[in-house]
Amino acid sequence: MMCLAKAIDYEDSERRSTLSVGAVILCPGSEGFDPSGLDVFGYGKYSNVVTSEEFERILSASGPYRGHLMRPLDREAPKKIAWIQCVGSRDINLSGNGYCSSVCCMYAIKESMIAKEHSHDELDCAIFNMDIRSFGKDYEKYYNRAKDEQGVRFIRSRIHSIEEIQGTGDLIIGYTDETGLIKQETFSMVVLSVGLRIPDSVANLARRLRVDMNRYNFAVTPPFDPAQTSRPGIFIGGAFQGPKDIPSSVTEAGAAACAAGTLLADGRGTATKSVEMPTEIDIEKAETRIGVFVCNCGINIGGVVDVPAVADYAATLPYVSFVDQNLFTCSQDTQDKIRDVIKEKNLNRVVVASCSPRTHEPLFQETLQACGLNKYLFEMANIRDQDSWVHGSDPKSATEKAKDLVRMAVARAGLLKPLTEKKISINKRALVIGGGVAGMNAALSLADQGFETVIVEKEAQLGGLAGDLTATIEGADIQRYLLELVDKVSNHAKIQVLTESLIVGFSGFKGNFTTEIMVGPGMYERKIDHGVVILATGANEYKPTEYLYGQDYRVMTQIELGKRLEAKGAEDLKTVVMIQCVGSRNEEKPNCSRVCCQSAVKNALHIKELNPDAMIYILYRDMRMYGLLEDYYTEARQQGILFSNFTQDHPPKVEATDEGIMITFKDHILQRDLIIPADLLALSAGMVAEDTEELASILKLPRNNEGYFIEAHVKLRPVDLANDGIFLCGTAHSPKLISETISQSLAAASRATIFLSQSEITLSAVTAKVDPDLCAACLVCVRACPYGVPRINEEGVSEIDEALCHGCGICAAECPAKAIELNWYEDDQVMSKVEALLKGVL
């Protein structure tokens, strides 16, 4: 048997079942492109040519070389590694995959950085690319770090061959650089950055479900309804909709859940089961009896740490009444065993020595609750992540450390007290801040699911930045969409819109917020009680100070150009030049604005459509036409639109003359300056976050240097804020396209719905409490609390509302009178660990 826990039934066979459902969400994902068929890269022929997925395994501690950086041929540590980008992407000739896979630039940069960290000696990393597409939130900073701090080389090139040097296993990469010169360089190892493709099995599934796909087998979705497939009731999340990274996949999965939830709103709560918990055992007068469970975690712990020795040692510790060791403490049958033992041995404190409380604490706490023990009478010792995994080469020290960690955990467990979690009812109303496309979509989704929603917009009308946009790159009419959206929102019985309104006060806690709003135009004050907040404050187009903008009428931004084309056409435009990255990717605003490359291509194609004879030059640094946008880039080149690359150090020069705007730039193939007289110069101005400094300070929310709000987790929680009950969407999060904005607003609405559909919420008992007898009302806690929670009450002492407390413990550490304790982290509980650790040292 392979599975030690016997969790796998090897005799199991296929079963067919029929489910009756109201909606289907497709998240079948994608797979890495197989480069075996492409001779030029030598994959399958040369052992030291690997795919990026294989390299990921090489870097992994559970991989073939246990995380040691080695190349396959001779298990030697490589000295030079090359990454080849766009293998099976942006390639119409060899693989037929015309799209950009969106994720490979970032994973290649990541792999190069990790490889450098893993390498004992100096490691040279080079990434051969056509463009580096680090277009996601804060990605450009990561790219800059790789380039400027870690010395990863980025070589703009086309690869024509990879050959192995006989005898050494090294590889010669033959390539053409951006000036057209043919060059070669030798590497110890080559990683092929393979793109994403839709597996045939997924395409077949989609055909069976009668869901339309494009020519690359990605599911077709309308620009303004990004979670909707061609078949009503079937929604989509993730890479099957188009190549995308984790944050976008998580976001779109949220959008799909929201769309399905809206469809099924009437059935909410009709098929739920609730768990019955026994009443809690009173342990106040009971003697302390600690049970210790030491986990082998298969061989994860047991393979390094002498688990029986640790268990024997635990049995000698004070108040320990029972010790057991388990193969997998987290398995269901072990939970049953623990429950029986707790009852049988009258245990009233439990210590599990296993893995991380971050992943497993809730599971064990549930087991305690199931036999009537308060969940706070539990403590974990992390002898895996903090011990066996990181000290694998020294089992003796690892065992000693495990004993120390168990002794510390037992010491603290003995001092734990039962704590009561407060339950509060929640207000089912939502407040949406910002009435642009993001805010309106979030509001509409919530209202359609039956939740009352209030939109606060500071301008006189709804619409936001979308009011200035004409069409998407697919040709969908944004103004028509916006009119319909505003109409739906304005006429929805459950949505209230407050325009010309400002937020001036904010108080309360998740589920029970109160916001003070000055409502225009009369500026009277209103207080709104609500359970959640959705932030949709948006962003604007940057107003350039560069390239004669504002000084010459022939210089305009892409949004202005879009409007101009709508109003005046392009008959009069013989030559148009566009300059990319204006107000992005510079010292002041280091990030990429994501949308400007496609804005330029969109407007350029529109000009060509209106006036096929127009000459258009796009001067760019990297063309970031990610995902399916790449097709429009290909089309633009086919239509004769000229693209010329420049570097940040050598930007184009612009001069106004009567003959036209003269633009001087260095042609990267000719390697000499060209001067183009243009009728119009379009600046691809980046995005700047709406000014939310005051709002962020009123709501106490964190923002990054560029003024975008910071989500709870960049990858896994892209629409949640760290503050519970507050969600984020649209360009308030980072620059994005209108379809991406809509996805994110649905995702935010979906997260808010999860919260609002509960009848009550349970608050953590890890909160601070004041001993009124010790409090000197010195106000230190009042000043120290990042959330302004402590207040001086009628008795003249500090009081902390447990519903408002975030449980950081800052006040407890600052209090000079030691009048404040943080539950579960009381001073004696923390100190007991220090003392247990150092017992007998002095």
């Binding site: 501690a61 960290e117 910071i710 760290a722 800052i810 600052e814 040292v841």
Partner: protein
């Protein structure tokens, strides 16, 4: 990630470094620890707004006290990293271990060793 780092480190969990009290740090030295370090979020990126900055101040206070009483302020340090920076954590562990090895054991233990001898 499972990066190896020296096995002489024992982690005590706190909700925020802002919860780490001066007395917690000093007690560790009083009981014979050779070194203590506090690892928090990146500055400006604290989960609880500014807990890590308060922790830094307390670490600095502890350094002054340890300098004043001859144990040596360098034995206590503050480090910052983001949750995605496992390798940095391992680096800190190594750096701190080497620093402490260079400084030698807590002088309070020397006294005890002399007594025993």
């Amino acid at each position: 990630m499972r990066l190896n780092y020296p096995s002489n480190i024992r982690i005590i969990r706190v909700p925020c470094t802002g919860k780490v009290d001066l007395i917690h740090i000093l007690r560790a030295f009083e009981k014979g620890a050779d070194g203590v370090y506090v690892v928090g979020c990146l500055e400006g990126d604290c989960r609880f707004s500014n807990g890590n900055l308060r922790a830094r101040k307390r670490v600095e206070q502890a350094q002054q006290i340890l300098n004043a009483i001859g144990i040596g302020g360098e034995r206590v340090q503050m480090y910052n990293l983001s949750s995605g920076e496992g390798p940095r954590f391992a680096e800190f562990a190594l750096e701190m271990t080497e620093k402490i090895k260079a400084l030698g054991i807590n002088p309070m233990k020397l006294a005890k060793m002399k007594k025993v001898a």
